[in-house]
């Protein structure tokens, strides 16, 4: 009984220690912006106003295609 408790307690302490150590370790300066981008990109909220609307992406792509077609025609 005590062995199980001891092992679990040891692993919990290990986790708390690594978590605290990780918190103390500063994030490299040039990586700070990436964290915001990833948080937003990984979010599943389709109604979020911050995110780029799918229709805008579609419009941009259609514009690009039109430009390419015009170039080819010329």
């Amino acid at each position: 009984m005590w062995l199980e408790i001891g092992i679990v307690a040891a692993i919990v302490v290990l986790y708390i220690a690594t978590f605290a150590l990780n918190k103390k370790t500063p994030i490299p300066e040039d990586c700070l912006e990436l964290i915001d981008e990833a948080t937003c990109g990984a979010c599943n909220n389709y109604s979020c106003s911050v995110k780029q609307d799918f229709s805008t992406i579609k419009e941009d792509l259609h514009e690009q295609l039109e430009i390419e077609q015009l170039k080819e025609d010329n």
Binding site: I7, V8, L14, T25, D30, G41, H62
Partner: protein, 201 residues
């Protein structure tokens, strides 16, 4: 031990028993981080790294600490904590040693703590009981290969799915099917396709 064992371990864990489409583990990152190919590749690389290391550590913990003491019933809670600690350690290591690698993997590492595929693979490896066939040490090689194959399967599926989703952005999808519904339909079709690979090995 022949090389065929490793080859079979990789093929079966990558394609035949794919962790996402056939075992239904790791669905959160599969749907959440697959909008862009870039993020999918980053997540896959981080999962690959942590999955292999976590599988090795949990295997050693199980067969050298838990099993000899007859306390295998605490394996799940021990594995969860070990994986969480491991992710923290990997993050510290990347922050201090390789800023470049942290830039590409670091942001996905905290997400891996809650990725059930990592815990699932650790449990599957234990359930396969490799030491009974190969011995504890050689079983470790097979376990690490299985973890690597599983991670490859995860990467393959998430990359393919992200490529499809990127193309969907410019497709003319009916309003009611936009977003999650069409993604889930595609995931279902992909799962059916992978089901067809059963029986190869």
């Amino acid at each position: 031990m022949s090389i065929t064992v490793f080859f079979v371990a990789i093929i079966s864990s990558m394609l035949i028993n794919n962790v996402i489409l056939l075992r239904f583990l790791g669905i959160c990152p599969f749907l959440g981080v697959s909008k862009k190919t870039e993020t999918a590749v980053g997540m896959s690389a981080a999962v690959m790294f942590v999955m292999v290391v976590a599988s090795i550590v949990t295997y050693l913990l199980y067969y050298y600490v838990l099993e000899p003491n007859g306390i295998t019933y605490i394996s799940t809670i021990a594995f969860i904590l070990i994986i969480a600690s491991l992710v923290q350690l990997v993050e510290i290591f990347l922050k201090r040693v390789s800023k470049k690698l942290y830039k590409s993997l670091g942001i996905y590492l905290p997400l891996i703590t809650t990725n059930c595929a990592i815990l699932g693979v650790a449990e599957i490896i234990i359930a396969n009981n490799y030491p009974s066939d190969y011995g504890v040490l050689q079983g470790l090689y097979v376990a690490a290969t299985t973890a690597f194959g599983t991670a490859l399967g995860f990467a393959l599926v998430i990359f393919a799915f992200s490529s499809i989703r990127e193309r969907l952005d410019s497709a003319d999808v009916p309003e009611a099917w936009k977003g999650a519904p069409i993604s889930l339909v595609i995931a279902g079709i992909m799962a059916l396709a992978f089901l067809g690979l059963g029986g190869i090995v």
